[in-house]
Symmetry: C2
Subunit: 211 residues, 2 copies
DNA sequence: GGAATTGTTGACCATGCGGTCAAACTGGCG
DNA sequence: CGCCAGTTTGACCGCATGGTCAACAATTCC
């Protein structure tokens, strides 16, 4: 009650709070990305985080609250590569760089990719707002940039939204369908993504180069 | 016991058996594709199939048996478009036709695509054998065909396995990530796939045309 | 019709799971 | 130390879920 300075409803987080919340989010990403929301259990996440179930529920009030937290914590990072497409850059260089960033995400954080894949396949019950809001607006913004480049004759004329879909699909494929890729090639994930980078550069840059 | 002709352990299926098994597989595809294995319940599938849970379990002995059955029933159809790539055909025509067939599958049977996506994201616990067996061999066979075409200078030199990944990823994207596609465009699925067809034709055919 | 086979289901069981709670323990600070 | 907010957990509750079973209903075949 007797808070001196700021918002009395929000107390500063203790060291233990910060540490445990981080442990929980890490564990939740591991479990939710592999099992999906309904397939995951609080017990499993607690075990992964090295604490008891009631203790985990001391930090997050419900399974859905954990899920939302880990989705939110991951969403920004997912959108970032797209945000960084620079209207002032050289079109094909920007697209190549975007491919790199997305592939790098598939290599470094495949769990984040699978987390979203799971959520979206289910019909995106919890992130529909972000899809029709933030994502849609960002896509429109970048689509306009691409259309500008096309109008200037600096890249081949294609529907920019479908181009973005194709980039998402091809890059995230190496995270979401990792076991399939590895079953077909017999390479580890790193090697597969190296091959992917060479291939996708060729595919997109040849197709998008102005005539 | 007293079977006259063939395998005494396998009796011919009755009309009711055939009808009900079909109803169950249809319902199971609906539910498993939307919820994944762990997220689905037998009760839900039984309800969708219009019968009681014990009745459903009279035809399939466990949840996993239903799941395997629906996976098997869908797998062949999933592989078929790839099988139909004709070594005697014109390379770019064959690839265009393959794209068409895969996109058509995303339009006509998105549930099958999502069923596999769910399974593979989870690490393909039940179809790993098919991935490293049937699929891998089929990919090797078709990769050899593509490499032959490349050696003959009839299409651009690219790693054929990654080309197949890219085709799978881009076409199945419209089924697996349907809600995202619809959130970003504001078109219905049919219209989105029409746009996809035009775009993917351009993307792959421009990239793969021999210089 | 009637027997045998096939099909159907309400009731039930055991387990798993999300979530609660009271009681105990701990860390930081005067 | 001694206090107290903050932290931890064993035990528990209620409900959902996979699966069983015995009894009942419908078909099939003579």
């Amino acid at each position: 009650m007797t808070e001196s300075a700021p918002d009395p409803a929000v107390r500063a987080k203790t060291r233990i709070q910060r540490e445990n919340e981080e442990k929980i989010l890490e564990a939740a990403l591991e479990v939710f990305s592999a099992e999906g929301f309904r397939g995951s259990t609080i017990d499993r996440i607690a075990q992964e985080a090295g604490m008891s179930k009631p203790n985990l529920l001391y930090y997050f009030r419900s399974k859905e609250e954990i899920y939302r937290a880990v989705l939110d914590a991951t969403l920004d990072g997912w959108l970032d590569p797209l945000r960084r497409i620079d209207p002032a850059g050289e079109p094909l260089d920007e697209i190549r760089a975007y491919l790199r960033r997305k592939l790098e995400m598939s290599r470094e954080n495949p769990r984040a990719s699978r987390l979203f894949a799971n959520e979206v396949i289910r019909g995106a019950p919890l992130i529909m707002e972000e899809l029709t809001g933030t994502l849609r607006e960002l896509v429109e913004e970048k689509a306009a940039v691409l259309e500008g480049w096309i109008a200037e004759g600096r890249m081949a004329p294609v529907e920019p939204r479908h181009l973005l879909f194709a980039i998402w699909a091809t890059t995230q494929h190496y995270a979401d369908f990792q076991v399939q890729v590895q079953a077909v090639l017999s390479a580890d994930e790193g090697a597969a993504i190296d091959g992917a980078q060479a291939f996708l550069d060729t595919l997109f840059l040849r197709a998008l180069a102005p005539r």
